[in-house]
């Protein structure tokens, strides 16, 4: 039997990779994918707790996170397409029209 700690540490590592991706990459689509990685690492924590505590709430939360992630991907990629049409770039450093 595997202790819950292993799952928690794995998800912490995956979350860290996601954070590193958001910090170092400039391609907005890869930044987006790193955010998906972070969402998934949190999902792993929730499912882990759900299984070890015998409570369905964690898995319900994962279900809703997946639904929200689908909505987020649709809207986010729509924004990426609109921005690309406007600025001809996917580099987040060049997308600074909201910067004051």
């Amino acid at each position: 039997m595997i202790p819950l700690d292993y799952y928690l540490i794995l998800s912490a590592l995956l979350f860290t990779f996601g954070v590193i991706g958001v910090v170092i990459r400039r391609n907005v689509i890869i930044v987006f994918m790193s955010i998906e990685l972070m969402l998934n690492s949190v999902n792993l924590t929730l499912v882990g707790y759900s299984a070890y505590l015998g409570d369905p709430t964690g898995q319900m939360l994962v279900f809703f996170v997946i639904a929200v992630a689908a909505a987020e991907a649709a809207v986010g990629l729509g924004i990426v397409i609109a921005l690309f049409r406007l600025r001809r770039t996917v580099n987040v450093d060049e997308i600074n029209i909201l910067k004051w």
């Binding site: 170092i24 990685l37 397409i81």
Partner: protein, 168 residues
């Protein structure tokens, strides 16, 4: 047996996570993210969450990643030479801070969170099936479930509006 499976799946998830972040070509990143999602689905199965594992593959690896691939090919981002990503001080500092965050999360987990939870609950097998998830979803979580449909409607309308050729 379970231990071996866990370590194999964890290794696949970690390696594909690193490759996702470091690849230059976004198409490769998508492929590695799909690999990562499959490894996570395997881990969900180990945690006897069959239903979540299934929707992980169908919704995430199937629908969302195809959407990503579509956008990458629509924007024609195959050659990434234009997008110079060089190492600079700001980026090194960012990685250092991210690693510090990771160490912090692991420390918190080790000190407090998982303590005393070494064995899966005997109830876990019944919770993770489609029956168990459906039962919880349509009783205790009925209202959030219905609200999700509104959220998805808003997302559809928003995505169409954003991707329209001309905003008027």
């Amino acid at each position: 047996m379970e231990r071996i499976l866990f370590f194999v799946l964890a290794a696949v998830a970690l390696v594909s996570g690193v490759l996702l972040v470091t690849r230059r070509n976004p198409v490769l990143s998508v492929i590695y993210l799909v690999v990562n999602f499959f490894a996570l689905a395997g881990l969900y199965l180990l945690l006897s969450a069959q239903f979540i594992a299934a929707i992980q593959i169908i919704v995430y690896a199937g629908a969302i990643m195809v959407l990503f691939l579509f956008v990458i090919m629509l924007l024609n981002l195959g050659d990434e030479e234009k997008l110079a990503e060089h190492v600079n001080a700001r980026r090194i500092a960012g990685v250092a801070l991210a690693v510090a965050l990771g160490v912090e999360i692991v420390a918190v987990f080790l000190v407090k969170a998982g303590s005393g939870l070494a064995v899966k609950s005997p109830a876990a097998a019944a919770i993770g099936t489609a029956e168990g998830v459906g039962r919880a979803l349509f009783t205790r979580f009925l209202l959030p479930f219905e609200v999700t449909s509104l959220l998805l409607l808003a997302a559809i309308v928003g995505a169409i509006l954003l991707a329209k050729k001309k905003m008027d």
